[in-house]
C-alpha cells in the first residue's frame, strides 16, 4: 500500500512537471504581446532586411524599449524577471515573421547574457547585465574558429596572462551579431594540462568589450538565409583585456561553452519552430486562395495530407521546445531535452518550409512570397549551435552513458 502511494505520488509529480502544456494567463498574454509586436513592427521589414542584408538596428532598439532583450534576466539586474519559456516564445513569435530578428535575440540572450548570469562574479553581473538586459548593449559569443567548429578542442585562439591583463591572439569565425554587438564571450586556450597522461588544451572563457585595442572585425559573411543577421570574423591581435574579465574559473571554459550552447539550443529550437509555424500559416492561407482545375488546391487530398503532417510535426516540435525551456527553468541538466528540441525543430523546420514552397508551386520559388525566405532561413537551424549530427551525439551519449 505504501509503495502504491509512493508510486502514485511519483506519477502525480511527473504529470505536473512534464505533462502540463496549458499556458497560464501571463504566458498567454506574453505570447499575444510578442505576436502583436512581430506583426506590427517586424513583419513589414522582413523582406527588406533579407534583400538588403541590412542588420535591423531600429528593430533592435524597438525590442530593447519593450524589454525583449532581457526577458529571463532578474529584475535586480534590469531585466524582465520572466522565465525561459517566455524567452523561447518571444524567439518563436519573431521567427514566425523574420528569422533574422529571432536569431539576434537568441544569440544576445542565450549566448551572452546567460553565461554571465550563470558564471559571472557579482561585479561582472552588476557591470554587464543591466546594459545587456535593457538592450543598451548587444551581446555575442565567439567559440567557432576556422579549424574548430563542433570540435571545441581544436581551438587555436590563445589567452596569456601578462601582469594584470590577459593578452588574446587568434580569430573567431561565423559570429552572430558580430560588429553590432558591444560585448563578446570569447573562448580561448589558456594553457596545456595533462589528463590521463595526455596533453589537453586548457580552455577558458572571457568577456571582451568592443573597442578594446587589438580587437577588430574581419569579413562579413554572405549567407543563404538569415541574411540580415550580421555574421563576422573576429580578430584578436595582442588584444589586452583586464584580468577580471575572465569568466568563471580558469580552465573551465569548455564546460562554460557547452553549457551555454545547451541554452542556446533552446533559442535556436524556438527559432526553427517559429519558421515552421510561419511557413505553415502562409501555406494554409495560400492553398485556400490558389485555384487549379476549377477548385482551390486546398480541396485536393494531397494538399490536405501534406498540411496534416506539417501541423502534427509543428505541434510535436512545440512540445519539445517548451519542455526543454521548462527543464532549464527547473535547474539541473537539460542537455538532452535541449538537444532533442533543437534536432527535431530544426529538421521539421526544413521539412515544413520545403513542403510550403512545394505547395506554393512556382510562386513559392519567388522572393515576393515569404515561404521562399523561410526555407532559406530554416537551413541554418540544422547547422548552427551544434549540427543535427552533434545533437544526435549528445542524445545518444546520454542514452549510452
Amino acid at each position: 500500500m505504501a509503495l502504491l502511494l509512493v508510486l502514485l505520488d511519483h506519477y502525480a509529480i511527473v504529470e505536473e512537471t512534464i505533462m502540463d502544456f496549458n499556458l497560464d494567463k501571463k504566458h498567454e498574454m506574453a505570447r499575444a504581446l510578442f505576436q502583436e509586436f512581430a506583426e506590427n513592427e517586424v513583419k513589414p521589414l522582413a523582406q527588406e532586411v533579407d534583400e538588403t542584408e541590412a542588420f535591423p538596428v531600429a528593430t533592435v532598439k524597438n525590442m530593447a524599449a519593450c524589454g525583449f532583450l532581457g526577458i529571463p534576466v532578474p529584475k535586480e539586474y534590469g531585466g524582465q524577471g520572466c522565465d525561459t519559456l517566455t524567452y523561447a516564445m518571444c524567439v518563436e513569435e519573431l521567427a514566425k515573421v523574420c528569422g533574422t530578428t529571432a536569431v539576434i535575440v537568441s544569440a544576445h540572450t542565450s549566448l551572452c547574457i546567460d553565461p554571465i548570469m550563470t558564471y559571472g562574479t557579482s561585479a561582472q553581473k552588476e557591470k554587464y547585465l543591466p546594459p545587456l538586459a535593457k538592450g543598451e548593449k548587444l551581446g555575442a559569443f565567439g567559440l567557432t574558429e576556422p579549424g574548430a567548429g563542433t570540435d571545441a578542442q581544436g581551438q587555436q585562439t590563445k589567452a596569456v596572462l601578462d601582469g594584470d591583463e590577459w593578452v588574446l591572439n587568434g580569430s573567431k569565425v561565423f559570429i552572430t551579431n558580430g560588429k553590432y554587438a558591444d560585448l563578446y564571450i570569447i573562448i580561448a586556450v589558456t594553457g596545456i594540462v595533462e589528463k590521463r597522461g595526455k596533453p589537453l588544451k586548457e580552455i577558458s572563457a572571457f568577456i571582451v568589450e568592443k573597442g578594446t585595442p587589438g580587437f577588430t572585425f574581419g569579413t562579413k559573411e554572405k549567407k543563404m538565409g538569415i541574411r540580415g543577421s550580421a555574421t563576422y570574423e573576429l580578430i584578436f591581435t595582442d588584444c589586452r583585456i583586464p584580468k577580471e574579465n575572465l569568466l568563471g574559473v580558469q580552465g573551465k571554459g569548455f564546460g562554460i561553452a557547452m553549457h551555454t550552447l545547451d541554452g542556446g539550443r533552446i533559442g535556436i529550437a524556438a527559432q526553427a519552430l517559429g519558421l515552421a509555424e510561419g511557413a505553415l500559416a502562409r501555406t494554409v492561407e495560400y492553398v485556400k486562395e490558389r485555384k487549379q482545375f476549377g477548385r482551390s488546391i486546398a480541396q485536393f487530398q494531397n494538399t490536405q495530407f501534406q498540411l496534416a503532417d506539417m501541423a502534427t510535426k509543428v505541434q510535436a516540435a512545440q512540445m519539445l521546445v517548451y519542455r526543454a525551456a521548462k527543464a532549464k527553468e527547473q535547474g539541473g541538466s537539460y542537455s538532452t531535452e535541449a538537444a532533442m528540441a533543437k534536432l527535431y525543430a530544426a529538421e521539421i523546420a526544413m521539412e515544413v518550409t520545403t513542403k510550403a514552397v512545394q505547395l506554393h508551386g512556382g510562386y513559392g520559388y519567388i522572393r515576393e512570397y515569404e515561404v521562399e525566405r523561410m526555407m532559406r532561413d530554416a537551413k541554418i537551424t540544422e547547422i548552427y549551435e551544434g549540427t543535427s549530427e552533434v545533437q544526435r551525439m549528445v542524445i545518444s551519449a546520454d542514452l549510452l552513458k
Binding site: 497560464d24 494567463k25 501571463k26 498574454m29 506574453a30 504581446l33 502583436e36 509586436f37 524599449a65 519593450c66 524589454g67 525583449f68 526577458i71 529584475k75 531585466g79 524582465q80 524577471g81 520572466c82 517566455t86 518571444c90
Partner: protein, 260 residues
C-alpha cells in the same frame, strides 16, 4: 501628481460586428480589447509620469472579466487598478456610466482625469464630459497634444480645420484622441507583475453621492430601438454618356430622390 485614467473594455470591431437576436452586441463572439482612445489617454498619463513623476491609476466599470483590460494597463505601466463591478450597474448608458464613474472617483485624489474621446462600441463621446460635470471640474475634449506647466494643463484641442490651444487649472478632465500618441507595448516583465498585482474592486456600496435611480439599466434614459452593423453600399450604377446627357441624367436622378 495623481492621474486617474478611465478605460473601457470594448469588442474589437476590426473583424466586423456581431449581434444577438435581440439587437444587442454579442460581446462573447468578439475579441475584447482596450478602447483605442482610452489607450491613448493611458499612454499620455504614463508619459506625464515618465517626465514629471506621477501615480497613474486605471479604473473601469464592467463585468468581472473587464479585469483583463486593467491587467493590460498595468502591464503597460499603470501603478494601480480599480474594477467597478456590480449587478445593479449592468445595462448602463452614458448617463448611468458617468454617474457610476464619478461616484467611484469621489473616493480618489486626482490632479488629472484622462478618458478616451469615445468608445468604438458606442461612439457617443459623452462619458468623459459628463464625469467632469458630475465632479464640477473643467473638461477639455479631443486632445491631440498635451503638456503640463505649473499646475496647469496645456492642450491642443482638435477641430475639423485646425486646433485650439487651451489652458486649464488642475484638477481637470481631458478626453484623448487616438492620434494623441502611439501607445507603448506591454513589457514581458510588466505582464508577469500585473498578473500577480492586486486589483481593487468597488461595488455599489463604494460609490459616493449617487442615487440608485441614476444607476444601471433603470437609471439609463437611453433606450435602444434598433441596432445594426454598417450597411454595405451597393456597387452603384455606371453610365457612359456624353457630358450634356450626363448632366441631364444626374439632375433627373437627384430630382427623383428628392435631393433637389
Amino acid at each position: 501628481m495623481k492621474i486617474v485614467v478611465c478605460i473601457k473594455q470594448v469588442p474589437d470591431t476590426k473583424g466586423g460586428v456581431q449581434f444577438n437576436p435581440d439587437g444587442t452586441l454579442n460581446r462573447k463572439a468578439m475579441l475584447a480589447i482596450m478602447n483605442p482612445d482610452d489607450k491613448a489617454g493611458l499612454e499620455a498619463a504614463l508619459r506625464l509620469r515618465d517626465q514629471y513623476g506621477a501615480e497613474v491609476t486605471v479604473i473601469t466599470m464592467g463585468l468581472p472579466k473587464a479585469k483583463d483590460v486593467l491587467i493590460e494597463a498595468m502591464a503597460m505601466g499603470a501603478d494601480k487598478a480599480i474594477l467597478i463591478t456590480d449587478r445593479v450597474l449592468g445595462g448602463a448608458d452614458t448617463w448611468a456610466t458617468s454617474t457610476t464613474l464619478a461616484g467611484a472617483l469621489r473616493n480618489l485624489e486626482y490632479d488629472l482625469i484622462m478618458t478616451g474621446r469615445q468608445a468604438i462600441d458606442g461612439d457617443t463621446a459623452q462619458v468623459g464630459p459628463q464625469i467632469s460635470e458630475h465632479l464640477g471640474i473643467p473638461v477639455i475634449s479631443y486632445a491631440q497634444k498635451l503638456d503640463i506647466a505649473g499646475g496647469y494643463v496645456i492642450v491642443q484641442r482638435q477641430y475639423e480645420d485646425g486646433y485650439h490651444v487651451l489652458k486649464a487649472k488642475m484638477p481637470c478632465l481631458i478626453t484623448a484622441l487616438a492620434e494623441l500618441n502611439k501607445p507603448r507595448y506591454m513589457t514581458p516583465g510588466g505582464i508577469f507583475d500585473a498578473c500577480e498585482a492586486e486589483i481593487t474592486t468597488y461595488n455599489r456600496g463604494h460609490l459616493i453621492d449617487v442615487d440608485d435611480a441614476n444607476l444601471g439599466l433603470t437609471g439609463s434614459p437611453t433606450k435602444i430601438a434598433r441596432a445594426s452593423d454598417k450597411v454595405k453600399k451597393g456597387s452603384g450604377e455606371q453610365v457612359n454618356l456624353d457630358p450634356e446627357a450626363s448632366v441631364a441624367y444626374i439632375l433627373e436622378k437627384l430630382t427623383e430622390k428628392h435631393i433637389i
